[in-house]
């Protein structure tokens, strides 16, 4: 019987610290009070400082004219647009480089991770060196270095001129210059919606067919030649629609004019440098995740599958990868998050992402540091909470249901 159950026990002040029943309460109250005091102190300081500087706290500046240009925009923007629109352009640019980066980093990372496990001694050493070199050097250095290479080691547009030019366009379509990449750009004639729509439909059909084939295989054991059917589904209807609509989608190729390339699309070198640097850097981490994930599948699984008579290819696809994915995906998603956060270094090469517009030029022009930083941090915070909730959802879905 503990003293707690004794009737008539008097409460003494020292019990707040010595009695474990009350101690946690005491600590929590103290923690809460100190937190609130600290918060009040900060807010009070902020109010005083803002008053001393003659500043107010409002977001009205987002509706005023921005007055600066952005070199790469996804939506129409001029320097007459508002600061709010500039911020949206920046946010879209962040998404653009993040998505491009995630795609390339995944492809490279998976490839290098698999090469690292290759039985080929030379290849696995090379892949290992890649991982060590890219992981142990700051990402900012890679961004600067890729930008410097694109600036100083690529030809100027003038080098493409003349009968015997010192630089050549790749396949006559892509020009790599020290300003950026000039690429063919689609030109949409009436009827393009049909082609794009049919293509989207055929992608849906491919997915649906994949599911059907799998369900059928599980029910009957019959394996359909999925690859050829899928390829046909993907290509044939689109080609047919293209033919019927009279080739509504054509490409505009860049042409060298008097001073510069005209026509086609232009990708600023800052985007390319940032994209490549982030991808190469993150690919090294993804490669390690992939290697770790594949190695986490115990050898017994591979051996059991081999004993069942599966060929190496099938062992990989049916036994090892499904189990490895469970280990690979969560850190992969957190690498995506890291890549997105690292894209905030874009200002180093002059790429106008959210940090460079909202937390850079807009902040400097309007002097609204507090509001701009709040918005910027809020954006990144929401983004990362979103991504981590996706990760948690995936984790819960694929985690082993043991016990």
């Amino acid at each position: 019987m503990t003293s707690a159950e004794m009737p008539g026990e008097r409460f003494r002040l020292s019990m707040l610290i010595y009695d474990t029943r009350y101690r946690s309460l005491t600590i929590q109250v103290i923690a809460l009070i100190s937190f609130m005091l600290a918060a009040a102190w900060l807010v009070n300081n902020t109010v005083q400082n803002l008053a001393a500087l003659g500043k107010t706290f409002d977001f009205g500046f987002l509706g005023t004219r921005a007055g600066y240009d952005i070199n790469q925009t996804l939506i129409p923007y001029t320097n007459d647009s508002t600061h709010g629109r500039a911020a949206i352009v920046g946010i879209l640019n962040t998404f653009l480089v993040a998505i491009l980066g995630c795609l390339l980093a995944t492809i490279m990372g998976v490839l290098i991770g698999i090469l690292r496990l290759s039985p080929n001694w030379l290849v696995s050493k090379l892949a290992g060196t890649y991982v060590d070199v890219f992981r142990n050097v700051p990402v900012l250095l890679w961004i600067f270095a890729f930008f410097a290479i694109l600036t100083d080691m690529t030809p100027a547009p003038a080098a493409f001129r003349g009968d015997n030019p010192s630089a050549q366009m790749i396949f006559g379509a892509v020009a790599i210059t020290n300003r950026g990449f000039y690429i063919p750009w689609p030109v949409l004639a009436p009827g393009w919606q049909l082609v794009v729509g049919i293509f989207a439909l055929s992608v849906v059909a491919v997915v649906a067919f994949g599911r059907y084939a799998r369900a059928r295989q599980e029910a009957t054991g019959e394996i359909l030649p999925t690859f050829w059917i899928k390829a046909g589904l993907l290509v044939a209807p689109t080609l047919l629609a293209d033919l019927l609509a009279g080739h509504p989608i054509s490409f505009d190729f860049p042409e060298l004019q008097r001073f510069n390339f005209e026509g086609g699309g232009f990708i600023d070198k800052s985007l390319i440098a940032l994209w490549l640097a982030l991808s190469f850097y993150t690919a090294a981490y993804i490669a390690e995740n992939v290697r770790g994930g594949i190695q986490a599948v115990s050898r017994g699984q591979t051996e059991a599958a081999a004993a069942l008579g599966l060929r190496p290819n099938r062992i990989m696809n049916l036994v090892v990868l499904p189990q490895a994915m469970r280990v690979i995906i969560p850190p992969l998603i957190s690498q995506y998050l890291n890549l997105t956060k690292n894209s905030s270094l874009a200002i180093a090469v002059g790429y106008m992402d959210a940090r460079a517009t909202l937390g850079g030029i807009t902040m400097n022009q309007t002097g609204r540091e507090l509001e701009c930083m709040l918005l910027l941090m809020g954006f990144y915070l929401i983004l990362s909470l979103l991504i981590s909730s996706i990760m948690n959802w995936y984790d819960a879905r694929v985690s082993l249901k043991e016990r």
Binding site: S14, I17, Y18, S24, I27, Q28, A31, L32, F35, L42, N45, T46, Q48, N49, L50, A52, L115, S118, P119, N120, W121, L122, V123, L126, D132, V133, R135, N136, V137, P138, V139, L140, L141, F144, A145, A148, I149, D152, M153, K341, N342, S344, L345, I347, A348, R355, G359, M363, E369, L370, M373, L376, M377, Y380, L381, L383, S384, L385
Partner: protein, 433 residues
């Protein structure tokens, strides 16, 4: 009777394996040419290596160490190796290496950061290598103050007075505990220390300095740069983020709702925003949050932000280690009658930290790499220096030499750290695997 025609009485000696199954030939076969795909990969790798080496070797061999500008470098290379030869211009590193190490620290005071660096090695040694006598840890504890004094200069009495705050707190606790107020002793000790730091450090240091002036020439923070700056920010961040991370991890796993909520809020907030936004807050906003008129050193502000940032990541790493421990360990600690802090210090933490060593060192490495971000807010760390050198008309257009040099130094430091973590893992491995 059957006659046995032939019975072998001794074993035939085994035949030598075929030539393809021994020595280098076998190794080549198994490791490089085991299948068509592998052979192709090998050939591709060799081609890649050859391409790299054939471009880099002449570039290194033609390197010029004595020149005043990139144009001069190129002229020398053309003159020596013929038209169109490529070569490195290491002259820029020869000219600027002092800046890369010390930034714009006054040249006649270079001995101070140099001495600090060797003292840093001496202070790290007992922490890293447990075979050294434990008494050396006292020097490690004294090192931060010494480092501050040597690098920034000023009166030696200031760091001494700050250290004296700990002595004051300790004395206050001893006295109060002896007088029978053990209950309030820790709080009173903390209060005494803080009060000492707030009100008495300045006067006490001044008083001593007026009697025995032990001062070095002060050096302003804006002169700091190069790897010295990276090391100062990185090492301070590493030293403070680990204990802070441990506290945050314990807070996050605590049963107390409010403590837990505060820890989670802090950790998730910091992990959700990029470091660069925190550094921007340090540059533009910290003055707004602090009492009017406060304006403290930019390096200190950066260090605080980097430490908080690293601490949040560290907390998650250590939480992983704590979660990986079997419940039995916690229960055993309780069963021994240890209180919370004792069980953490003696039973839980040593094991949790051991489990998470690789990720902790990984955090250290990313912290050290992240110190380069200060280049964006205008401090002259190695990358900031590279940008300013490339803007110099003499060295405009130089790429590989500078970035390669900085990358190499970071590679050495970070690779060294990861190798140390492997050594530590091996040394601390107590289970048999």
């Amino acid at each position: 009777m059957a006659e046995v025609a032939f019975v072998r009485h001794e074993m035939e000696p085994p035949q030598a394996p075929p030539s393809g199954q021994v020595g280098p030939a076998r190794w080549l076969r198994e490791n490089l040419f085991s299948s068509w795909l592998n052979a192709l990969l090998t050939i591709a790798s060799v081609a890649l290596l050859w391409w790299l080496v054939s471009h880099m070797l002449p570039w290194f061999a033609h390197g010029v160490w004595n020149a005043g500008s990139l144009t001069e470098c190129r002229q020398i290379i053309q003159a020596t190796w013929g038209e169109g030869a490529s070569g490195a211009c290491f002259a820029v590193i020869r000219e600027r290496w002092q800046q890369f190490l010390f930034g714009f620290y006054p040249v006649h005071l270079y001995w101070r950061p140099t001495l600090t660096f060797f003292l840093l090695l001496a202070a790290l040694a007992p922490v890293l290598v447990s075979e050294l006598p434990r008494r050396l840890l006292w020097f490690s504890a004294a090192f931060p103050g010494l480092c501050y004094w040597l690098l920034w200069g000023g009166s030696l009495w200031v760091p001494i007075a700050i250290y004296a705050g700990f002595v004051v707190g300790h004395l206050a606790q001893r006295l109060l505990a002896a007088a029978g107020y053990g209950l309030v002793a820790p709080f009173a000790a903390a209060l005494a220390t803080v009060l000492w730091w707030l009100y008495l450090v300045g006067p006490v240091a001044d008083a001593f300095a007026s009697v025995v002036p032990l001062a070095l020439t002060p050096v302003a923070s804006k002169l700091f740069g190069g790897f010295m700056l990276s090391t100062v920010i990185g090492m301070t961040g590493i030293a403070f983020s680990l204990p802070l991370g441990v506290l945050l991890a314990l807070g996050r796993r605590s049963d107390m709702f409010i403590v837990k909520a505060l820890s989670i809020g802090f950790i998730e907030f910091i992990r959700g925003v990029p470091l660069i936004t925190l550094l921007l807050v340090a540059t533009f906003l910290l003055n707004v949050f602090l009492p009017p008129g406060t304006n403290f050193d930019i390096i200190l502000r950066v260090i605080i932000m980097v430490t908080l940032f690293a601490a949040a990541y560290m907390a998650e790493t250590i939480r992983g280690g704590l979660a990986a421990l079997p419940r039995g360990q916690y229960e055993a600690a309780d069963a021994l009658g240890l209180d919370y802090w004792k069980s953490m210090r003696l039973i839980i933490m040593p094991q949790a930290l051991k489990i998470s060593i690789p990720s902790i060192v990984g955090n250290f490495i990313s912290l050290f790499k992240d110190t380069t971000l200060v280049a964006i807010i205008g401090l002259l760390d190695p990358l900031g220096l590279v940008t300013s050198i490339r803007a110099d008309s003499n060295w405009n257009g130089i790429v590989w030499e500078l970035y390669g040099f900085v990358a190499l130094l970071f590679l050495l430091c970070c690779y060294g750290m990861s190798q140390y973590s492997r050594y530590l893992e091996r040394k601390l491995r107590t289970d048999r695997r």
